[in-house]
Symmetry: D3
Subunit: 276 residues, 6 copies
């Protein structure tokens, strides 16, 4: 069951990329309440178009397809691309070339507002005993985080030169519920995700902003006070799952980099080996 | 209907300047609950003195009158002076000469605490995509903001040299309700205004403090965490008016300086032309 | 009546030093809900051991006794030592030698997490018109505060060299209720104390952290946003006592160092005289 | 004997206000080497016009006269106004009204670069044991410092709104030689003054900048590293006078506010008394 | 004529990429004094190998070739890649894929120190009236700057995860002499370039560092005080060219973005048009 | 051969503690030029008193002896105590109890200025790839560093409460010449030591200051710009020894904590073992 609409502002056409992914499927149903047309894209199957939906398959690395995709769009929620640690080639194509293509397409089509789904893995090498703000420089924990750091810089460039506004949302862990003790800190509920997306789309002036995508969790590593102008106020918390998760993981190995650093297991996995 | 009194502390005599203005009339009824005598001044008519009220007409630029006005006063709520963008001469007289006269009168009469009604226009040239703290340097957006920046410096001087404590309250937009989308960020309810005024008057040690006068709005450009010692906790929000205001102004021109900067229309209006 | 347990995590053996003191007696009953064995130590009498309690009398300055005390302990809540301004000798023995002994014992016994009861008197020479963060350098207001600043540095050393995690909890004023207007800012309820202790013990990664021990008071001098990773969320406030305390102390002498500085009366009392 | 010209850039017409004052007379001879016409103004007599000089008597509080004064001027070196602690009225007229008039005249005449002679008394209430940067907020030590703080805010406003570039030069103590031990820190030689003035006039982009006017003294309270874009490199030092000045003032009273604070005697003198 | 060797430390084999470019040719002759073998690579012709030189042609986008290139190398001076604003495809291949390949090759071959030739265009959107430090976040001014920002993030990742040390040298304008007034601020002499390269190669601990590559120019936008551990002390200055350059460009258009921003003409040129 | 006297100011009686140590013997001959009487103390033999010298043997832990030692003294240069990593007991007695005794003696005898020989080991756990300022919080690397951090806090307390001025001089490595590559960064010549001591003694207002004791070395980890008010300008450098030291230590093990951290070997040695 969805939360109440959080704004009465309506858009004519919103574009949601990565619409077949986990968060994409969730936002697909939520966003249509705020626009006449919800354009959806992915390289994975998107099923049937519901009323008010437009489906387009546009590979991110295909410049022409991307330019077509952003035509007549009011704003973009860019979830598309690789969202886990993977080898360099798919990350290069989808996240690096793809994000460049997205912003070029936005520039050419005059699209002025983008929500860029960045990631906590942009700053995965900060410690779990640190609290970082919206001005924390990138410390990526792998190739995926590196590609998201690149995307934030692309957004910065297109803001400074072309006035395109972006919120780089460094998403923590957005799932139906938190899955381990790390997520007690990093979790964001789907309802809070919707609140955050709509805050980004409707705040009068967004500029170039960085904001962390987490719920109002009791334990936090992130401080969003530098992004108060975005107007995101989470209403959920990981607290109800605390007991169960603490029971499941009563002990943590404090010598494990996955426990020491905010990026969790990403800081020690990935496509790195000596025969790569 | 007024809120519950927020403190049981009582003053013998409080002075409210600018008592005939919009906020002045509102505070007139609220402050009398906290003092034996409420002295009111303005150059505009103040009507009849109610019980417990003293009316005095003291032009701010009249040094002698100001010294009489502050006699036997426990604390001052200084709303007096010009509160909109106007030509230089009235701003000079009321806000620059007037504020100097007020602090000289406080010094001579031994008055030790002042609430100085400063303004968001002291820092109107910060962007609506920025969040500024209580230490943000002045970036006035016109002559009015400039005069308020001057007032803050007067307060600083009289604190450092003579120990007079002041809260410079950078008031956002205090009206019965927010009037446009900008005020979703800058609005302060009258009840919160009262909370803020009484916090300033009753906090044990005020020193020289800057604090923003806004309600607990979802979208904000101001961060009051540096003024937590003042003890102001807003309880209202602009949120109930969001839908109506967004409906009235669904589109904003992001190239308009009045949208880009926090000062709103003040940043592009005022008594500046080439034949001035 | 105790609050609900705030975590389901259980420890085998917790050590509470200073268990016969004011906060110690309070925590004695609360902590036993979270562990199989609660080891208690003090130099003052501890009465009978209840079920699940172990009593040990270990003078802090006795190195061997301290090493025995920390044997087989999962974590330490170190309240032991002098907790008021006193002459140098007892402070030296209990707080300086004692804290060193405690950390040496932790190191030798492999104990990896400590709650160090630091104090607001570590930073007592900041002003009551200032708000300080968790990174505020020590400005001790007397020998007691000095010894707590030393303890924080010991904790830092043992973290950097040996990986022992500590929260230095700069406790404000933890009593059943606030006793004067200063405590409107500095007070911490016993329930919030329990919340804070358990947050420190159960947060996945603590590192070396400083956090202020106060409730969610309206007026505050401390900003805990730098310690959000600890997960302490106070639920109480000094507000219900405001009226009574303001009535008792309607006037404060703003020239009194005890009013000017956060340390209160500590800044002007203590074992300092010219024949010392 | 003058130093070598520090730039080969030439201006058609420079305006030097306050040309009859101490620094004005010094700059009068130095500046003419850099321009075709040096326009000089003061209310005090300026003697005969030398070749390449234009003399104009323009009271700063006379708006029309000021607008005439800035006609056809490439840049302004604004030394005019009161330069010592004085009663409010002359400071108001010359420094507050006068500086406003100057910037209005610059705006109307299209003059785009101003050197505003600010003062160390803008920040006279910092301590002599502190080092402050170019972003130090104003802490004026009297009415003179207050008026200079106002001037800095005027400059800020006219930069943000109208693109007029200003260097606010917080001049220390510019005399032929340092006169007391305080000036070992605050002194600026006349040659360094010239270097600073010409750096301000010729740096490609000045923006709104604050810079301290001191020589390369061994002891300093000011850090100009935030103004490196201005290109001022002092070449003199107070050091040669150290021995003589230390001999003259071997003891300083560390309880004297004039010794404690950077503003020196200004922090405790001025037109403040209880019968003012 | 070369400067005296700045260190007596010798390396067995250094790798210089981009050895056929402007800076590459300059460093080719200078670096051979510090190593037994100087390996040189470029895709452009490198001429004959002199004694002590090894020539290898390794396209940066060729992963296998890069892994061969870094074999048995003590340290890398990575000048290779595109060094001007160009279309996306060559920048993607040489600077993005190429830098990733370089660090992968370093990781696999156990090379532990890299000088990464970054650029002032990483932060080209700061203003010429600002001074930025070594912690200034990227504000790239075009695709070239964007690719260098990416390279800095790659270096950060390989430091945090694999301990490879890098100095990201944000090179200003390194030419035989400064060519325009902008370069009075941004110029670095070839002798200073050599000093900087050798400081980076020989400082005991480099970590992940950012440092600006400029000479000791009088006017500067960059503050290297955060990189004092690198030990770079420039000895040259753009000052001798000042008069000639100021004569050539006596007027600058302060409305031209190329004058306003540090990146110069890069901020308004490049491969951006609406039919791209 | 000594440097020229750096000031003509003279003191009646200076006290030098630790006068039999390495730096003590060096300063003994240098300081006598600046005072009528140089009082020297140590627990080790001091030889014969030269003209103008007073010898007193005062164990630092002997409160009464210390109070006698500071009688009729103008200022103290406190080098006394343990200056290497040692077991807890001697450090406790000489550096902790001793420094407390020294400041108590200063308070009782009205001595108002102290140079406290602190140490780089107060912040030994910062990295050699970091540059820290005079506000860097303590990160001691062992018991010696811990005791010096305590001494800095004692100095802070006696300044805030009793107005005693102190410079905490975090001495790097002061020897006739640098001994290894680490000392290229941390070395201070004896002439610079004298310059620093006399700057501390003669600067008009010292307050509570922290300053690093290093020469003008090319490679540095410390930034003294926050202490410019002290007036210390080093004139020596470790550079002349670079070649010899680099030849002696061409390779450093970057996995060795003694190379990684500023404290050098102190970070991994000392009286810590599991049977302590």
């Amino acid at each position: 069951m969805l939360t109440e609409p959080v704004t009465s502002l309506r858009f004519h056409r919103l574009l949601l990329t990565g619409a077949a992914g986990g968060l994409g499927r969730e936002l697909r149903q939520r966003l249509k309440r705020y626009c006449d047309v919800l354009r959806l894209s992915d390289v994975a199957p998107l099923g049937e178009a519901a009323e008010g939906e437009e489906l387009m398959s546009a590979p991110l690395q295909d410049k022409a397809a991307m330019q077509a995709l952003l035509k007549d769009v009011d704003a973009v929620i860019h979830l598309g691309g690789v969202s886990t640690e993977q080898p360099w080639q798919p990350i290069l194509e989808a996240n690096i070339v793809g994000t460049y293509n997205l912003y070029e397409a936005a520039r050419i089509n005059g699209v002025k507002r983008v929500l860029f789904a960045s990631s906590n893995h942009v700053c995965g090498f900060y410690k779990q005993s640190e609290v970082i703000g919206t001005d924390a420089p990138a410390r990526p924990d792998g190739l995926y985080g590196l590609s998201k750091a690149f995307g934030e810089d692309v957004a910065r460039l297109y803001h400074d030169r072309f006035g395109i506004e972006t919120a780089c949302v460094r998403i923590g862990s957005s799932f139906p519920e938190p899955r381990d003790r790390r997520m007690l800190a990093s979790w964001m509920s789907y309802d809070d995700l919707e609140r955050l997306v709509m805050a980004v789309l409707t705040t009068p002036v967004l500029g170039y902003s960085v904001i962390y995508g987490i719920s109002d969790n009791k334990t936090r590593w992130y401080d969003n006070s530098g992004a108060a102008h975005v107007g995101y106020r989470p209403q959920d918390s990981s607290e109800p799952w605390r007991a169960a998760l603490e029971a499941k993981q009563p002990k943590l190995d404090l010598n494990d980099p996955a426990v020491i650093y905010q990026g969790g297991a990403f800081v020690r996995t990935g496509p790195f080996d000596n025969n790569a």
